[in-house]
């Protein structure tokens, strides 16, 4: 009956190749399962399209870009990087909801009782959601081009911008993983994942040029991590970008974004794994 033989003395440490394998297995499970619930996926793709259309046509005429008041395409060219970055940041939600759901249903307990890598469940979630974000970003880029946005900086800049946006999503997914494992309830995770993110995104240069803000808000908005990613994306796409103050944030947005990726992942990846290890079914 023993068609499967175990190793006599099981190893107590998990090697890197096993960790990668476990993460891919979990990623498979998340993607496979995710597509069986088409509502979630459709909502995930429709929301960014809605944002593109709303901002391009509803706010587009009302928000002038300083110095480019006569250019009717100016706001669309300015706006798109902001919507891209916002959508990447919102990856927090599916990651936190997915892990909270696994926790509530007792699946995390099952995974934790298996001889798999401790990082596997979270890494698998991050990989699966990142794959979704690639599709979302592709849809948005097409959508943006259709409403009049332009890629103004050649192929290298384009791929640089796409890569940076996905790095931003990658970093935010770890934040989402931490939130999801902390609250352990998908309903709570849905709001806990996003409620703080709205003010953070809106208090940036994503949708409005920061020089139009009141003076005391300008430094907050310009040093906001979201602004770094948005400005870096604008720079790489060759879209119009502007800052009120001449600072490190305004001069080196790409470098600053990369620093933020390291900082965010450096803080939230260990926190998330720690939460996972201590996770208790609620």
């Amino acid at each position: 009956m023993n068609s499967i033989q175990r190793t006599a003395t099981p190893p107590n440490r998990v090697g890197l190749s096993q960790a990668v394998g476990d993460a891919m297995t979990i990623a498979w499970r998340n993607i496979r399962g995710g597509w069986r619930v088409p509502d979630n996926q459709i909502y995930m793709f429709i929301q960014p399209i809605m944002f593109v259309l709303l901002f391009a046509y509803v706010f587009g005429g009302a928000i002038p870009i300083p110095g480019m008041e006569d250019d009717p395409t100016a706001y669309k060219r300015y706006l798109m990087a902001g919507i891209f970055a916002q959508t990447m940041a919102f990856a927090v939600a599916p990651a936190s909801v997915g892990l909270a759901d696994d926790m509530q249903k007792g699946l995390i307990d099952r995974f934790r009782s298996l001889p798999m890598a401790r990082s596997g469940v979270i890494a698998g979630r991050v990989i699966a959601d990142l794959a979704n974000q690639v599709i979302v970003l592709a849809i948005m880029i097409v959508c943006g081009l259709l409403v009049g946005w332009e890629i103004e900086n050649g192929v290298l800049g384009f791929f640089g911008a796409v890569g940076l946006l996905l790095l931003f999503a990658f970093a935010m997914l770890w934040v989402g993983a931490f939130i999801g494992l902390s609250v352990g309830n998908p309903q709570v995770a849905a709001s806990a994942g996003l409620i703080w993110l709205f003010p953070v995104v809106f208090l940036s240069n994503a949708f409005i040029p920061t020089p139009t803000l009141p003076g005391w808000l300008q430094p907050i908005a310009e040093w906001n991590p979201v602004s770094a990613f948005v400005a870096a994306t604008r720079e790489l796409f060759g879209n119009p970008s502007m800052f009120a103050a001449d600072t490190f944030a305004s001069n080196h947005p790409v470098l600053l974004s990369l620093i933020w990726v390291v900082v965010i992942v450096g803080i939230f990846a260990p926190l998330a794994v720690r939460k996972y290890k201590a996770a208790a079914t609620k």
Binding site: T25, K105, G106, L107
Partner: protein, 331 residues
């Protein structure tokens, strides 16, 4: 040799005034190849104990060895040797039964091919072959539990932890699952089973550990525990309440004890020291006297009686007790 041994396990949740000692110094041994039932009401600390033994939770104090490995220092070794089936059916609803088993097989570090083969075997063994390619959303509660149990058997673990495997199942599915568990026992598995159902521990376990408020309050075989509260009783249900008087006389005479009478259910109960001999005598006497009976049985005390004796409370949770009471009132 002991497959599971724990000494002085302690787990406290919360701090300060709100601290709750979920498990307060539990000793537990499960010899290889036996079934131990951890019996207690809701909130007794059963699940917390199992979570510590399966490496899901770090004990605050104490020590536990599972398959010879320390659960705190060698958790990964323990995990690769045990199977755990929780009280929540911890399987993925969005995947099919086959995909679930493949997924868990992969995470037990089987190759994709091995995992596929094992999934097929288990679906067959658990009568889920026809449902194997449907997502779990379409499964009944009993099917989910079967799949959950199958998931814990992927690597033929010699040690199984079953945390309330039949809670919430209908009686037919419960019996079904008992059969599956008995098959594992017949194959030589060591099982630690938690349950709030007395008849479940009685039916499956060699040894029963009664736990309440995080403490072991009794331990022994079902028979030993039952013996703690005295001997056997003869129960008679007479067909016609007019015959109750003569039946009571006969019971008092033949057993030399004091008969207990429930007019409403027409049930008479009397303690006896003569076992089945006494029972036969009673049947003869009743027959001679022309008393028609609906039911007669030699009853040993139930584990519920043991629980009441030990804790002053019924082992059933309050809602279940209320349900039973309502059921009795209705019948």
């Amino acid at each position: 040799m002991n497959a599971i041994s724990a000494e002085g396990l302690v787990k406290t949740f919360g701090t300060g005034d709100k601290a709750v000692k979920a498990v307060g110094g539990v000793d537990l041994t499960v010899p290889e190849g036996t079934v131990v039932g951890l019996l207690g009401p809701n909130g007794a600390g059963k699940t917390t104990a199992v979570r510590m033994l399966t490496t899901l939770l770090q004990p605050d104090a104490g020590r536990a060895l599972v398959a010879g490995h320390d659960v705190v220092r060698e958790p990964q070794a323990v995990r690769s040797l045990i199977g755990l089936s929780g009280q929540y059916a911890a399987v993925d609803e969005t995947l099919t039964g086959r995909e679930n088993l493949w997924l868990f097989g992969r995470l037990y570090q089987l190759s994709s091919k091995q995992a596929k083969k094992r999934a097929d075997e288990l679906l067959e063994q658990f009568s889920l072959a026809d449902a194997g390619d449907r997502t779990l959303k379409t499964y009944s509660g009993g099917m989910r539990r079967r799949l959950d149990l199958a998931s814990s058997l992927i690597v033929h673990p010699e040690i199984l932890f079953l945390d309330e495997p039949t809670t919430g199942l209908d009686p037919a599915s419960r019996l079904d699952l008992w059969d599956v568990i008995r098959e594992r026992v017949a194959e030589g598995a060591t099982i630690l089973l938690t349950t709030q159902y007395l008849e479940e521990a009685d039916a499956l376990a060699d040894n029963i550990v009664v736990i309440d408020h995080g403490q072991v309050i009794a331990e022994g075989t079902a028979d030993q525990l039952k013996a703690q509260i005295g001997g056997e009783r003869i129960e008679v249900v007479v067909h016609d309440s007019e015959h109750a008087d003569s039946a009571e006389q006969i019971l008092n005479l033949s057993s030399g004890g004091q008969c207990d009478r429930d007019t409403h259910t027409r049930k008479l109960t009397v303690p006896t020291h003569t076992g089945s001999k006494g029972l036969i005598q009673v049947i003869r006497d009743l027959d001679e006297a022309g008393v028609t009976i609906d039911d007669i049985a030699l009853r040993r005390p139930t584990l519920d009686d043991v629980f009441v004796k030990l804790t002053g409370r019924h082992a059933e949770s309050e809602t279940e007790a209320a349900d039973t009471a309502a059921g009795r009132a209705a019948s």
